[in-house]
Symmetry: C2
Subunit: 288 residues, 2 copies
């Protein structure tokens, strides 16, 4: 099918960070025919995006945006700002403008935004893509190519079909998921691993204090790989843990159970059960 | 200083696995002037080592070893076999032959072997080097270059000095450590991370069962890196967990405490404490 990016003629990206910037950059390089507008509270970021040529016009004041030309608004600010941004944006929306986001937490927030934006249509989206860097200046062309994009669709309609086409034309593999299921899945495969990596480094800090030996002088096999994600942004991860609190706590409990099971087998010196457990785990990991 | 590998004229490597094979291969390529003998219960492994030219002679029967030419014996079989191997080897040892090992667990075992081999000298060693592969056929030339080697020295003497020279000439950075301290350090930096990676994969298996969703279809950022070590050998890790039981349990408890602390801050929605904790962790991780 021809690339038409869902037929949207004017896209406004709110938040010119890594993801917002990468959407703009990728639209440009994929030959998007419409206009790309950018909004950010930071004048520097708007200036950078203009200098990079990834947006056609940029604004730091919502009142200056040519709203009559906008038929797609993408919320690309931190998740915790969405409700406030929504409040500020809503009065300007023309009929039929579709609103979407790129946040990593969905669930109740998506339900709230769906209701709030009525009669306009809000459809939640989460591109499973990113780098450890931040800001439009680190935007990556083709960041979404071959990557999953979760669309939280309550009911299929014209807006969801157009958004699916928009992301498919950017190279994403679109998958539809319930917003609560989304939060549970990503608590398990992303938020829990981060929590575990943070806790592992914390344990080594505590054990170092307890014994007076700097354990970080002895990075064992795999330790660096393993804890690389523990260097992720404290503020971003505080937000994610709190915004996805229920699912994160649920997966942490499940993980502590697994840790206690392993501990029990070691305590009881149950070699047979240990080998059985570790073999099941290895088989699962190798199947990835 | 000239390379003399501690002046040992005949080295017997017991166990032609990855580490034993890599010692032989590295000795050859570093121009070791003495004889390298290999022993393994498997005829195939002895044959392979001979074909690779890494040993000068190989045996599957201890009685056939030319013991009068051996002044260094290296135990390179799995740690749990050491006491039985020691029992079989001891009657053959000539005066002044030094015995050492390459095992990853030290502590009480080292004390036992030190006593058992008297009047011969046993000195425990642990090269912090390896790959995920096994067997002499996967031996790596220069495996120990630039890598730490822990020598568990109860008292400095001629034997410890010669062993230090032996490993230094193979390119290792020799560090002396108490055997119990060694076990605690490696429980923290190697055994605990493995336990955590195993438990994380197990938690995802359990959460997948609980919800009916195959969570392994959604490998998030870092998840693959993170759980790579969960594909390690179940039998090897069962042995390590049980042989280093006390230290491993101690570090698991410390880790569970760290996990509970993180959980508490999330539960209480204490954003300030979360950012403070995650920042301390990030700083520590970045300093590696």
């Amino acid at each position: 099918m021809e690339k038409d990016f869902g037929g949207f003629k004017g896209v406004l990206i709110i938040g010119l960070g890594l993801i917002g910037g990468s959407i703009a950059l990728s639209l440009k390089s994929e030959g998007y025919g419409g206009k790309i507008y950018g909004f950010d509270l930071s004048e520097d970021r708007v200036k950078t995006a203009l200098e990079m040529g990834v947006i056609d016009a940029g604004f730091t004041d919502l009142k200056e945006v040519p709203w009559e030309e906008i038929d797609l608004v993408i919320l690309a600010t931190p998740v915790k700002t969405f409700q406030e941004v929504a409040r500020q944006v809503k009065p300007f929306l023309k009929e039929n403008t579709v609103i979407t986001d790129v946040g990593s937490v969905k669930g109740e927030l998506v339900e709230k935004l769906e209701s709030f934006f009525l009669p306009n249509r809000f459809v939640g989206a989460h591109p499973i893509a990113g780098t450890e860097k931040e800001g439009v200046e680190n935007a990556v062309d083709g960041l979404f190519k071959g990557k999953k994009l979760i669309l939280t669709v309550d009911r299929e309609d014209d807006a969801t079909k157009r958004l699916e086409k928009f992301w498919t034309d950017l190279g994403s593999m679109v998958e539809v998921m319930d917003p609560y299921m989304h939060d549970f899945v990503f608590a398990s495969v992303s938020h829990l691993p981060h929590a575990v990596a943070f806790a592992l480094v914390d344990a080594l800090i505590e054990l170092s204090k307890e014994t007076g030996i700097d354990l970080f002088l002895y990075p064992g096999a795999g330790f660096k790989d393993f804890t690389r994600i523990a260097a992720s942004s404290p503020v971003v991860w505080k937000d994610i843990f709190l915004e996805n609190k229920e699912s994160v706590l649920h997966t942490i409990d499940s993980f502590i159970n697994s840790m206690e099971k392993l501990k029990k087998y070691i305590q009881e010196e149950d070699g047979e059960k240990l080998v059985e457990l570790l073999s099941e785990i290895r088989d699962k990991r190798l199947s990835l």
